[in-house]
């Protein structure tokens, strides 16, 4: 492969992957898929194993088990002792970690390229041979509870988002926090973790992504060597849990020690299912860019800079997911302004788009940023593997990236206005408010004792 061809294509960067046949993919006999993105700039590689299982696959009473199991994956197999996985990665000059989302659980090592063989051996071993040792579990569940305290319990903004999801979703498992409710963590057992592993950690529920200074044929051969012998097994049926249509606005308040109030307005929004034919998720993504894509985008310019109503304001929308989607508007009021005034101002901005649409310049600007970002993203070997992994996790393919960029370029001003009119609908709205409380210096309430 030569990189020289890359340069003339830059005006149409969404043609990269097609023109260069990169990434490459294959599927092993046991159902494990392997996807390789060659990037030969530096002598490093990223090795990732993604499992198609996340917190949305949990059931009530064991929320957090997907994430807990992610922690237990570092606690040893019959041939690799507890903590030994990290030691071997470190000895190889590598860095490793893992992450759990609502949709997936993934493990990675960033390594000097010549260590890929060894990393695959380690990942293949823990794909089917994990010990879930009760003693290790007893320590690790405490670590996860500390993680929850740090990330959520003592973080007012995170707590608000946790509560928002619990109110916005009723039937769909997105209502549960990824890290799990504290009482579920307190009641978790090693057997819960073991059952989770036995059910979901099989090669036919996983895929491997490798990026960096590698040859794809060599990677495929290594994958066959390490993962090829692992037996696949049928997965349990995943029953669809469809969120019923929301039929009226919802509202919640979280009181916590803080100074700045926070307003979040979350509207149910569509998710990309068919990249070639869907239109609305693209229009909403462009809309999010017009509202919050740069420092002079509408929200920051109007609410923060011109009217000085907010100290910050933004939009968050991810149009790829296994489950249902939301588009969130959020802002914190500046001193002397109320949450009510801020909500009115956000609604006024939305009404402007519904009535007047967006300008050609705004549309062009957002698309120009998108094109540039297609180049910038190639600077990160890790980022390239992440993009592939996340696409696959939500049931799409890395092949869809080019289609998505192309469709985003086709979005019209009329489509942006139409999705604003359709989806900024009060009946599909959940409003969350962080109501700051003064800081008294005592613990606020009796907490349940931790189980030991």
């Amino acid at each position: 492969m030569t990189m020289r061809q890359l340069l003339p294509l830059l005006l149409a960067p969404w043609l990269f992957s097609a023109a260069l046949a990169n990434p490459y993919e294959t599927t092993l006999d046991n159902g494990l898929r392997v996807i390789v993105k060659e990037d030969r700039r530096a002598p490093t590689a990223v090795h990732m194993v993604w499992y198609r299982v996340g917190s949305m696959d949990e059931v009530d009473g064991t929320s957090g088990v997907a994430h807990l199991l992610e922690h237990m994956m570092f606690k040893g197999t019959p041939t690799v002792g507890p903590g030994e996985f990290n030691k071997r990665v470190a000895a190889a000059g590598g860095r490793d970690n893992a992450f759990t989302s609502r949709d997936y659980t993934a493990y990675f090592q960033q390594i000097p390229k010549e260590k890929l063989d060894e990393m695959m051996g380690l990942e293949a071993d823990r794909m089917r041979h994990l010990n879930v040792d009760p003693k290790e579990f007893e320590q690790e569940i405490k670590v996860v509870m500390e993680e929850r305290r740090m990330r959520t319990d003592d973080n007012p903004q995170a707590k608000l988002f946790e509560q928002m999801n619990a109110v916005a979703f009723q039937a769909h498992p997105y209502r549960r926090p990824i890290i799990g409710w504290m009482s579920d963590l307190e009641n978790m057992t090693a057997a819960d973790a073991r059952a989770w592993y036995d059910t979901w950690y099989v090669p036919n529920n996983a895929y491997v992504v490798v990026s960096g200074d590698v040859d794809h044929q060599e990677v495929f051969a290594l994958a066959r060597k390490h993962y090829g012998g692992l037996a696949g097994r049928a997965l349990p049926m995943r029953k669809a849990q469809i969120e019923p249509r929301q039929e009226g606005p919802r509202k919640l308040t979280v009181k916590a020690p803080a100074e700045l109030p926070l307003l979040v307005m979350g509207y149910k929004a569509p998710i990309l299912r068919n990249p070639a034919t869907d239109r609305e998720p693209y229009a909403l993504e462009i809309l999010a860019g017009i509202l919050d894509g740069h420092d002079a985008a509408r929200f920051n310019r109007k609410l923060v800079r011109e009217d000085k109503l907010a100290v910050s304001a933004g939009v968050s929308y991810d149009n790829t997911a296994r489950g249902p989607g939301m588009i969130y508007l959020y802002a914190s009021p500046s001193e002397g302004n109320s949450i009510g005034e801020l909500e009115f101002a956000l609604r006024t901005e939305i009404a402007r788009i519904k009535q007047e649409g967006v300008s050609a310049a705004e549309l062009k600007r957002t698309k120009a940023q998108l094109v540039a970002n297609q180049v910038y993203k190639l600077d990160s070997v890790f980022g390239q593997a992440m993009e592939i992994g996340q696409m696959e996790a939500v049931g799409l393919s890395w092949r869809d990236v080019e289609v998505m960029i192309d469709r985003l370029q086709q979005v019209t001003a009329e489509e942006v206005q139409a999705v604003a009119q359709k989806y900024f609908d009060d009946d599909a709205l959940t409003v969350g408010i962080l109501d700051p409380q003064p800081l008294d210096s005592q613990p606020r309430r009796q907490r349940l004792p931790t189980r030991h």
């Binding site: 740090m150 910050s312 540039a372 800081l439």
Partner: protein, 429 residues
């Protein structure tokens, strides 16, 4: 470092990767030091200007001045107001960024290198350097936002602990001087203009560039940016921080977890003990999941999700710091464990096995520090700003490999005396 287009060059580049990175260095006509590394694989370039204009240069009663000056720098310049700057950059797909820390104020530009993108993006940066407006109304708005954010930070246990930690380590040095709502409220436009005139000068700047440029193109860009600045010289540094005596600061807070910091002022950038400290700290608390602190505090006892130690060498004596968060009722027990781990390590140093493991990771993993333009930029900017030797990256591995256990022990004995450790807790019972 970078693989190029032919087999011959690829072979050469692969050899170069083992040695480090080719950094070209020169000085502009206006006196700015320039550091450049060509990275031709992607049609983009990163440009960074660093000024010795961090918070260590805040006057005594004007804490927050450096941060506010940097924050407002690109909110209106010359013919362009803040909206014009943001819109033009977005139209080009370019990103202007940067921040001020204790030592440095940085301005970064990432842009595509196509001529119709690169030149207009550089023109915006040039104007920001030449003629920032420091508009009075924008200043008042940004002051209000800064004050709101400072007040909010002072409700969060981690921010409260961080502020108290720096104040305790540097009671008589600008590193301990923290912006407060009151200090920011007192800043006026004249303060910003004066600070900018003194410190945002060609003689007080370094320029780092990584990307798809030739040396000739890089020289032209550096000349252009440097010429937009007045000449000038680097500022005098304050008296170095004085050593501290051991002390405990305990602050109340209703959080469910205590935040704990332990530390003291340790070493500055370029200190000869840097490599022994780096290698030693890997074993103590720098080596992620495999450090002694993680083993004792997290793995064995389940006390914390995150526990670490690190050195932050700065222009003047930067801190050594240990940090963790744990349930408030077990904070004292966790501190006791940390103390025992530290005492043991300072007294005996790493075992031969630990030393070898530290070297294997730091040396073996060296290519991971340089495998993107962003990482190269960050590393080279530090070399340029702090005046580290140009072969710093080339010799990194050999200097790691050369460290002995005796050197680690000696360096820790010199810089991390457990009796002098300052402990800060927030929300600990």
């Amino acid at each position: 470092m970078k693989r190029l287009f032919t087999a011959a060059i690829t072979f050469f580049a692969a050899q170069a990767a083992l040695a480090g990175v080719a950094i070209e260095h020169w000085t502009t006509g206006n006196g700015t030091r320039v550091y450049f590394s060509a990275a031709p694989a992607l049609p983009m370039v990163d440009v960074q200007l660093d000024f010795a204009a961090g918070s260590m240069f805040d006057p005594v009663d004007k804490a927050g001045l450096a941060a506010l000056t940097r924050g407002i720098l690109d909110l209106g310049a010359g013919e362009r107001d803040e909206t014009a700057i943001a819109e033009q950059l977005a139209d080009l797909g370019a990103v202007l960024g940067g921040t001020a820390d204790t030592d440095r104020a940085s301005i970064t530009l990432r842009t595509l290198t196509a001529e119709d993108k690169l030149q207009p993006a550089l023109a915006v940066l040039e104007e920001v350097l030449r003629q920032p407006r420091f508009d009075g109304a924008i200043l008042e708005r940004e002051k209000a936002r800064t004050i709101a954010s400072l007040k909010d930070a002072m409700t969060r246990p981690d921010s409260i602990a961080g502020k108290a930690f720096w104040e305790a380590l540097y009671p008589a040095h600008p590193y301990g001087r923290q912006a407060t709502p009151e200090s920011v409220a007192n800043l006026n436009r004249e303060d910003l203009v004066d600070f900018h005139q003194q410190l945002y000068t060609a003689g007080n700047a370094s320029i780092t560039m990584v990307g798809k440029l030739t040396r000739v193109e890089a020289e032209a860009i550096a000349e252009r940016l440097s010429a937009a600045l007045p000449p000038g010289t680097p500022p005098a540094l304050p008296q170095p921080p004085a050593p501290v005596k051991g002390n405990t600061v305990a602050l109340a807070h209703p959080a469910s977890q205590a935040h704990v910091f332990l530390g003291l002022p340790a070493i500055e950038r370029g200190h000869p003990d840097f490599f022994p400290m780096l290698v030693g700290n890997y074993t103590l608390g720098g080596g992620g999941f495999v450090s002694r602190l993680v083993r004792e505090v997290r793995d064995k006892r389940g006390f914390a999700y995150s526990v670490y130690s690190y050195f932050a060498p700065m222009r003047q004596t930067g801190p050594f710091q240990i940090g963790l968060q744990t349930q408030r009722k077990q904070a004292q027990e966790a501190i006791k464990v940390v103390r025992e781990v530290l005492d043991e390590f300072v007294a005996k140093g790493p075992t031969e096995e630990e030393l070898a493991a530290a070297k294997a990771n730091l040396s073996g993993g060296f290519p991971l520090r340089l495998d993107s333009n962003s990482k190269l930029l960050a590393n080279i900017a530090v070399i340029g700003f702090y005046g580290l030797p140009l072969d710093y990256l080339d010799r990194y591995r050999e200097r790691v490999e050369a460290v002995t256990a005796d050197e680690v022990r000696a360096a820790f004995a010199r810089h991390v005396r457990p009796v002098d450790l300052i402990t800060v807790t927030v929300a600990a019972d």
